[in-house]
């Protein structure tokens, strides 16, 4: 192929266009058009107007759901950071064998379907589950309802999204030159101050990566909040699903979907300008 490319390159190079065409056609039909469909439905269903957006942006219920979605996503992001950072640190400061084992565990968690993990949390937090059992054993008589609350869905989402954070932070930590730490120590940095002024800034890119990724994925999460969350504290994706499946309100569902899409893309666009989108999943 190389020689053909060389021969063709004397003329305006057609090769890349030829190679790209099948995918471009596919994406135009099965990615761009369905998205455009959502955009069109949001202003034409049931009649042509901006009424759907007006209702979504001013209605108390919808505002509450949006607020709840952002709060949950923020909470999950912070929790993932608090959970992910120490684990990445432990991996980076263990013997290669232990680090390998933890990496295997995290990878396994990452690759296990999140329906499986959601189900596992139902067992763990259920009324006949080990957590309630443990609380009873300690002596708590009236144990709180754990399942189908904001707590259970948040905990499960933290568990599901933590690997994204861990992988991002760990990959940055691994590249830190130990000489930097030693020289900081030789200059008198100790304990928390060493961490605060040297280690934390060095790992900041990984933290930023992980936080953006977790926040954005969490904003659009559907399955776990629907299965484990409280029906009274829905998240936006769940509400979109209800509009479409139960009420067949395509206009309202599409308007909410468009707002979710715009917010998500806005966050990623800011990220893209600073770091480049391909870094996020790399």
């Amino acid at each position: 192929m190389g020689a053909t490319i060389a021969r063709l390159s004397q003329r305006p190079n057609l090769w890349p266009w030829l190679l790209l065409t099948p995918l471009a056609i596919y994406l135009a039909i099965f990615f761009v058009v369905p998205l455009a469909d959502v955009a069109v439905m949001s202003v034409t269903e049931p009649k042509t107007s901006l009424a759907n957006y007006e209702r979504v942006l001013t209605g108390a219920l919808y505002q509450q759901v949006f607020l709840n979605t952002f709060l949950t996503a923020g909470l999950v992001t912070v929790a993932c950071l608090l959970v992910g950072y120490p684990l990445a640190y432990l991996m980076n400061h263990s013997s290669p064998r232990i680090a390998m084992l933890i990496l295997l565990l995290v990878t396994m968690s990452f690759w296990t379907s999140f329906l499986v993990r959601t189900y596992a949390w139902m067992v763990l937090l259920g009324n006949n589950g080990p957590v309630i059992g443990l609380l009873n054993a300690i002596g708590l008589e009236s144990t709180p309802q754990l399942l189908f609350t904001r707590f259970s869905s948040t905990l499960a989402m933290v568990h599901i999204l933590a690997p994204y954070m861990i992988m991002n932070i760990y990959s940055v930590m691994r590249k830190i030159d130990p000489v930097l730490i030693r020289s900081a120590e030789s200059l008198g940095a100790r304990g928390f101050s060493l961490f605060r002024h040297v280690y934390l800034p060095l790992t900041a890119p990984g933290i930023a990566n992980g936080c953006v990724l977790v926040f954005v994925i969490c904003l659009g999460f559907y399955v776990t909040p629907v299965l484990l969350g409280s029906p009274r504290e829905q998240m936006i994706a769940g509400l979109i699903g209800t509009q479409i499946e139960e009420f067949l309100a395509f206009g309202m569902g599409s308007a909410m979907a468009m707002i979710l899409l715009v917010v998500t893309l806005a966050i990623l666009a800011i990220y893209h300008r600073r770091f480049g989108l391909d870094k996020l999943w790399g």
Partner: protein
């Protein structure tokens, strides 16, 4: 600081592992509902899964859909990746961005789009429709893996082959493809898993006829939390474990074999 981090790290390890270790004993449980620790053990739910067509059919649907998605994704992505990694042309950075964009759109938004769009063409509730939708979501992932591989490709190897008289096609088949094979395999595997695991779009468009396993699991968890799900979870878990550990095991076996084989055989064998 160091010690605090380590203690926290160990606690997190337990947190990460807990859900994974709980589904295995649950799958052997004799309890009718969610109960842990199980009151007793039996294999009844395994039998239930392997004899119940309402579980086997979605499993089969998922395998068929994921395989077809993988094939279609690779047919589309492999040439495109060559174009984007090896050529410079106007609009390349825009094309790069387009490849990743499906990954940035929340699945629920795509689900609404497909529900309406595929509905217009009567493709909702068909295998073909689900494959078309899943391919879109697999494209960015396959592209990311493959382009990373292609960027690390030493093109001098191709030049060497051609200077020795190999035609472009021969070079591609005998040099480029074999070197890229691991990248192609992993890229295809990612496309397969993405489709096999995809839930949100499948919930909306797979319907009764093309019901996928995640959709069936979702419905089942929502309605009754059928203990059979623990069986499926365990099976999926074992599959993931095998997929992760198998390459290392194979490498070990190959090494042992190679130790006993004369070097010449190795170079021709690969």
């Amino acid at each position: 600081m160091n010690r605090l981090m380590r203690i926290l790290g160990v606690l997190v390890v337990i947190f990460i592992a807990a859900p994974l270790v709980i589904v295995v004993p649950m799958s052997f449980s004799s309890a009718r509902s969610l109960q842990f620790p199980p009151p007793g053990y039996w294999l009844g739910y395994y039998e239930a899964y392997f004899t119940d067509v309402t579980w086997l059919r979605p499993t089969w649907n998922s395998i068929v859909i994921a395989t077809a998605t993988m094939v279609l994704t690779m047919i589309l992505v492999v040439p495109a990746t060559f174009a984007l990694v090896r050529h410079r042309f106007a609009g390349k950075s825009l094309a790069d961005l387009m490849m990743l964009l499906p990954l940035a759109v929340p699945h629920i938004v795509m689900a609404v789009g497909y529900y309406s769009f595929l509905g217009e063409f009567r493709l909702v509730h068909t295998h073909f429709g689900v494959v078309l939708a899943h391919t879109c979501l697999s494209v960015p992932i396959a592209f990311l893996v493959l382009s990373a591989n292609l960027k690390g490709f030493d093109r001098n190897l191709e030049r060497a082959a051609q200077s020795l008289g190999a035609s472009p096609v021969k070079t591609f088949i005998h040099v480029t493809l074999p070197i890229l094979r691991p990248g192609l395999v992993i890229s295809a595997l990612f496309a397969f898993v993405q489709s096999f695991d995809e839930t949100v779009v499948a919930i909306f468009i797979s319907g009764r006829n093309a019901e996928t396993l995640p959709r069936k699991m979702f419905d089942s968890i929502r309605q009754e939390a059928d203990p059979v799900i623990a069986v499926i979870s365990t099976l999926l878990f074992v599959a993931v474990l095998l997929a992760l550990v198998a390459p290392a095991g194979l490498k070990g076996i190959r090494k042992r074999l190679q130790a006993r084989t004369p070097p010449a055989a190795i170079t021709t064998g690969r």
